[in-house]
């Protein structure tokens, strides 16, 4: 089970029209991600990392090729089915945290569980557990504006993992954080990966993040140029 493919893409392409020309990114990407990986899509801006992440997260559809997540073809999912896949199995972490500003920390983390229709007492238990994980149990009643950047991103992580998804997709999660907070966030995610077995897929060009990756896929002009696995333990453990 540990090595079963969670994400599989074959000859995946997404074409963008740029006036008279067009751009492919990703371009002919074939990739397999197994359960429990701590993987990063790295490369310069425009290399297709975010688009690939969006396709894996069923937020976008490929122009050609296939993407399969948890055994389901992304291009054949209806909107309802795609929402169900995200709701049940995928957590997102964004560059700008994107917490809902009118809700408290507790309520932001609770939101995915409300969508799943989780019963109230179970919801409370899961939210408290997630906040414990990211070390913010004491800030449950705070509003996002009252938090520092690092705290905000940790709330976003708690929101992503509260429903215990198989996959967490993180797009430039440390881009708006200083070095200390970046390392703190990454250590938290490494810990979650190891203790919960959650698969993490990052899109990043931040060296601080890259240092923690167990697998690094480099995209250049939309194509996979390198797929490296690290034998060394990630920074958090060293």
């Amino acid at each position: 089970m540990q090595n079963s493919a969670l994400i599989k893409t074959e000859n995946l392409e997404k074409t963008y029209s740029l006036g008279l020309t067009s751009l492919k990114a990703p371009d002919d990407v074939t990739l397999t991600v197994t359960r429990g990986e701590f993987l990063g899509l790295v490369g310069p801006s425009g290399s297709g990392k975010t688009t690939l992440l969006n396709i894996i997260g069923s937020l976008d559809a490929p122009t050609s090729g296939t993407a399969e997540v948890l055994g389901r073809r992304i291009d054949s999912l209806s909107q309802k089915e795609a929402a169900g896949l995200r709701n049940g199995h995928i957590g997102f972490i964004f560059q700008t945290f994107n917490l809902l500003p009118v809700y408290t920390v507790y309520e932001n983390v609770e939101f995915p569980l409300l969508l799943q229709g989780v019963e109230s007492s179970r919801r409370r238990q899961l939210v408290e557990e997630a906040l414990e994980w990211v070390g913010l149990a004491d800030r449950a009643d705070s509003r996002p504006v009252q938090l520092s950047g690092g705290q905000g991103q940790r709330v976003a992580i708690a929101r992503a993992i509260v429903k215990k998804p198989e996959i967490v997709l993180a797009d430039e999660p440390t881009a708006n954080l200083d070095a200390a907070n970046s390392h703190h966030i990454m250590r938290t995610m490494v810990q979650l990966n190891e203790e919960l077995g959650t698969t993490f897929v990052f899109a990043t060009h931040d060296e601080k993040v890259i240092g923690y990756l167990k697998r690094k896929i480099t995209l250049i002009d939309g194509r996979i140029s390198k797929d490296e696995r690290s034998d060394q333990p990630p920074l958090a453990v060293r």
Binding site: V102, P112, L114, R159
Partner: protein
């Protein structure tokens, strides 16, 4: 889930308070403007009815043709018989005879020489009968400025501005000079019992009210009157009922013989409604159309504002929708929740706006605005006090646009949630 979304709605003032205030303000203005326009038009019609046309007016056919000139020589004679018939046939209407007249009012000094003089128009009404409806129709007691109401024959009331112009006080003597209905000269002395404010600038400046019997004597019109006015008991003009009564009465009297073998029933009675008299029909049609256009333009403008508010309110939230979709909420659920929010806000704003608009209109209906100072030089028969008037339509004219325009704006802007690729919507997060 619903309490969660509702909590967010209440906390986010840009989603709740500001849209609410926009709808509220728009609806208040619409309701009040409608009631105000309605009141202005009703005031004009009611004033005209009270002082001139009644809700129904009975005249001779000959008088009706020249009614603008008050041709008393063509007036009704033997009105007791006609009054009895009208009261028997139409007991739900108040019937009262009147004579409109004109002449010169001469104010003598202590030696009997003319101290002041002015042309006046007059209205002879039944002031002395205990059951006369005129007290209520003309609201005479409340209109007294100085002195008292006439209690005896030979007493008259003068318009407050006329009295000031002539320098007369209650108790002064005034000589009225005119001509009888047969064309001979008529001179009669009256005592000024009091001064009245009609609330119509033109009348305040030049009108006197006298008892019907005195003017019948002065103008040699014993048993006669220029016209008999009918008023609905609730003092509101009901056009359909007025038309029905008029049609039946006129059909009954179509073939009455006239007083002279040469005429064709010229002195037989005929009924008219305000709309059929003195070109009032065209005026009322014009006013109806004009007020309809004003209200239409205003409602459309308000709807566009509210629609736009709904539109921008939703566009501003595309980022939030992106997060919600990414977390796993369905597009349909986001869209429906957006519509539900707009309905709640629209409903609350429309209810509060309608209630406040109606309250403001009710206050203005009760107290009115005094525009007399603006009409100082006016010779038009415009009421000095303009009041709003609430009609059943006032309850919905603001409510429906308030509710539907916001909903429509939100619904249209929300379509973007479906049309955009989720990832495009999602990109709003980074902006």
């Amino acid at each position: 889930m619903i309490p969660f979304l509702f909590k967010g709605l209440l906390r986010d003032r840009s989603r709740s308070l500001f849209p609410f205030l926009t709808v509220f303000a728009g609806v208040v203005l619409t309701v009040f403007l409608h009631a105000w326009l309605n009141g202005v038009l009703s005031s004009l019609l009611e004033s005209t009815a009270h002082y001139s046309t009644g809700h129904i007016r009975v005249m001779t056919k000959a008088y009706a043709k020249e009614a603008d000139q008050n041709p008393n020589d063509l007036g009704l004679l033997g009105i007791d018989t006609l009054m009895t018939e009208l009261r028997r046939l139409y007991p739900d209407l108040l019937w009262t005879p009147r004579i409109k007249f004109g002449g010169l009012l001469d104010i003598p000094d202590e030696k009997g020489e003319t101290r002041a003089q002015a042309p006046v128009s007059g209205m002879a009404v039944d002031l002395l009968s205990p059951d006369s409806p005129e007290w209520r129709i003309l609201n005479i007691e409340n209109a007294i400025v100085q002195g008292r109401v006439p209690r005896n024959r030979g007493e008259i009331l003068a318009g407050v501005d006329l009295a000031a112009r002539l320098g007369i006080q209650p108790g002064d003597t005034a000589t009225f000079i005119s001509s009888t209905m047969y064309g001979s000269m008529s001179v009669m002395n009256f005592v000024i019992a009091g001064t009245v404010r009609f609330g119509i600038a033109a009348m305040d400046k030049a009108t006197v009210i006298a008892d019907l019997a005195d003017i019948q004597q002065a103008l040699d019109m014993q048993g006669g009157a220029g016209e008999i006015l009918g008023f609905f008991a609730d003092d509101l003009y009901h056009e359909d009922r007025a038309n029905a009564v008029t049609a039946v009465f006129n059909a009954c009297h179509r073939n009455d013989p006239g007083d002279s073998p040469r005429d064709t029933g010229a002195f037989s009675p005929v009924m008219g409604t305000p709309r059929t008299q003195s070109g009032l029909s065209d005026y009322l049609d014009y006013v109806d159309v004009f007020s309809g256009v004003i209200m239409g333009v205003f409602v459309v403008a308000m709807s566009i504002v509210l629609w736009n508010a709904g539109l921008t309110g939703s566009l501003r939230r595309y980022g939030e929708f992106g997060v919600r979709l990414a977390i796993g909420e369905e597009k349909e659920h986001v869209y429906v929740s957006l519509q539900a929010e707009s309905l709640m806000i629209g409903f609350a704003g429309a209810v509060a706006g309608t209630a406040t608009g109606l309250a403001a209109a009710a206050y203005t209906q009760a107290h009115g605005f005094d525009i007399g100072s603006v009409l100082k030089e006016s010779t038009m028969m415009l009421p000095n006090i303009i009041r709003a008037r609430i009609s059943p339509f006032s309850y919905v004219i603001g409510f429906l646009p308030g509710l539907l325009a916001t909903f429509l704006g939100t619904t249209i802007s929300g379509i973007g949630i479906y049309r955009r690729q989720t990832s495009e919507l999602f990109k709003e997060l980074e902006t």
